[in-house]
Amino acid sequence: MEEIVKVPKQAEKGSGLTFWQRTYVPEIVRGLKLTAAHFFGNLAVHIFHLLGLWTEHRGAATVQYPEEMRGYSSRLRSLHRLTKRADGSPRCVACMMCETICPASCIYIVAAEHPDPNIEKYPESFDIDLGKCVFCGFCVEVCPEDAIRMDTHILDFAAYSREEMIWDIHRLLNNEPRRAEGIGQIRKMK
């Protein structure tokens, strides 16, 4: 059974337009009607909001960041954090896998000897240059210790200088994840 599908070959100039459409005027009026309807509709909603009525209906699709934020997907790659062991020390063993895989070369680790021979190695310093980071998430994928994650949902980490964009181990360890309830749900921030 062959299904016949009409494939439009090419938009032809003026094809299939009626006379009135070709004069443009009624179509222009239709367009204006549509936008004007949105205008007055939203105007009414906003006036109701000013009067404290019908507030559960949002008058605009806009999210008023940073007063409001959407919940992000749990798979979103956001600011890095280093996870901790039960005693608060970093889980990282300075194996350099993330530094090696990093396509932006933005991770700088210096390893040192740990007093506990069962841990052996720990990161003396662990810096991420967020100005260089491309947020590919390879470091998270490659980590054998689950020591680095990108699940903080923090996206606002801008700084005024390049130096401030380099996050050291203390900042990375103390990044508390910030989570919203549901994906796409808007909530007020306080």
Binding site: H38, N42, Q64
Partner: protein, 361 residues
């Protein structure tokens, strides 16, 4: 003599006050209106002591920003013309508003004051002349910037002006033939009459085609979307590419001033200017026969408010059009001007002339 000067200064001040405030509000309205049309909220961040007032402080913030920004002149630019160009553009846009009447005569004591900055019997020609002078500012800006893209923008502005100026003139000829004058105040007076006993004798009823042609061409004259080819700030970039700070702001203002002027012109020519239906110098005369007597001053205030309301409405319409339709392609723009609108406007003149000839016989 002194009284006359004071009165003239008052009228100029009032007219500028109205015009510039409209401009300021338009920058706000453009954002807010487009936001509402697109289910957004629009600018609402500028605040003074925590009050945002629906974003009404944004024009202030813009002005501050523009004044304080670096005034950059590119290397190799003609510094003098580069500086003069925005003034030329803005000046002619501002003075073209002078001939538009915003009310009937107001009696202060025994002195009648014509509510119009300059009462010219060639008012319409004056407005057209002043508006078309503005294009020199744009062409100068494009040329003086020493930038090929600016120059192209300036040239687009010039050719667009030429294409639509003729249609504007030709579209109004029909109206002039109907009213028999080009004095704007007289045209407004003539529109105070009634057609068929109940319909205000507004130009739009005499000249519906002329109205359409005029509105379209006038929008092209203001260089706003869908006719914003000389500017096209985000993609094709225009004559003010090399402008920054308050000079750039002046070009922006010119746009809005022209919007207001065109709105005033449309109101004056086709919608009875300051005329409120059934309102005469002594009060309302309803078609059924009811009479409401009002003092001359009250009537005057109503007239001025009527004019301002019409002005506001046509500004709103202009914004609505600007945020509804996409930009023309350049060949479409020129073809529309020369092949559609000009022949139509000439046809309009011929038909009007024929009808008038028939009626007068």
């Amino acid at each position: 003599m002194m009284e006359g000067l004071a009165v003239a200064a008052g009228k100029v001040a009032f007219s500028l006050f109205v015009l510039l405030n409209f401009v300021m509000l338009l920058t706000w309205a453009e954002r807010k209106q487009s936001a509402l049309m697109q289910d957004r909220i629009g600018a609402n961040r500028a605040s003074i002591f925590g009050f945002t007032w629906l974003g009404l402080f944004h024009p202030l913030a813009d002005a501050l920003k523009m004044v304080s920004k670096e005034d950059f002149v590119p290397a190799g630019a003609n510094r003098g013309l580069h500086a003069v160009a925005p003034f030329v553009a803005l000046f002619f846009a501002l003075i073209s508003f002078a001939a538009i009447p915003f009310g009937d005569q107001l009696w202060i004591g025994r002195h009648p004051v014509n509510l119009q900055v300059i009462d010219l019997n060639i008012g319409l020609l004056y407005v057209f002349a002043a508006m078309s002078m503005g294009v020199y500012g744009f062409v100068l800006a494009g040329w003086a910037s020493n930038n090929n893209f600016s120059l192209l923008g300036g040239l687009r502005a010039a050719s667009q002006m030429i294409s639509y100026e003729i249609t504007i003139g030709a579209a109004v000829i029909g109206l002039v033939m109907v009213f028999g004058t080009i004095n704007l105040q007289t045209i407004v007076h003539r529109q105070g009459e009634l057609l068929l006993g109940f319909l205000p004798a507004w130009g739009v009823f005499y000249q519906p085609l002329g109205f359409l042609l005029f509105v379209t061409a006038a929008m092209a004259e203001t260089k706003r979307a869908p006719f914003d080819l000389p500017e096209g700030e985000s993609e094709i970039i225009g004559y003010f590419l090399e402008y920054s700070g308050i000079k750039f702001g002046m070009f922006l203002m010119t746009d809005f001033v022209e919007t207001v002027v065109v709105a005033g012109l449309v109101a004056t020519l086709f919608f009875g200017g300051w005329q409120f239906p059934y309102l005469y110098r002594d009060g309302f005369h309803l078609p059924g026969g009811g009479i409401l007597v009002l003092s001359q001053q009250v009537v005057c205030v109503i007239q001025v408010l009527t004019f301002l309301s019409k002005l506001a409405f046509f500004c709103w319409l202009s914004l609505l059009v600007r945020w509804t339709f996409p930009r023309f392609r350049y060949d479409q723009l020129i073809r529309l001007g020369w092949q559609m609108m000009l022949p139509l406007s000439i046809l309009n003149v011929v038909v009007t002339g024929g009808v008038l000839l028939l009626l007068h016989r």
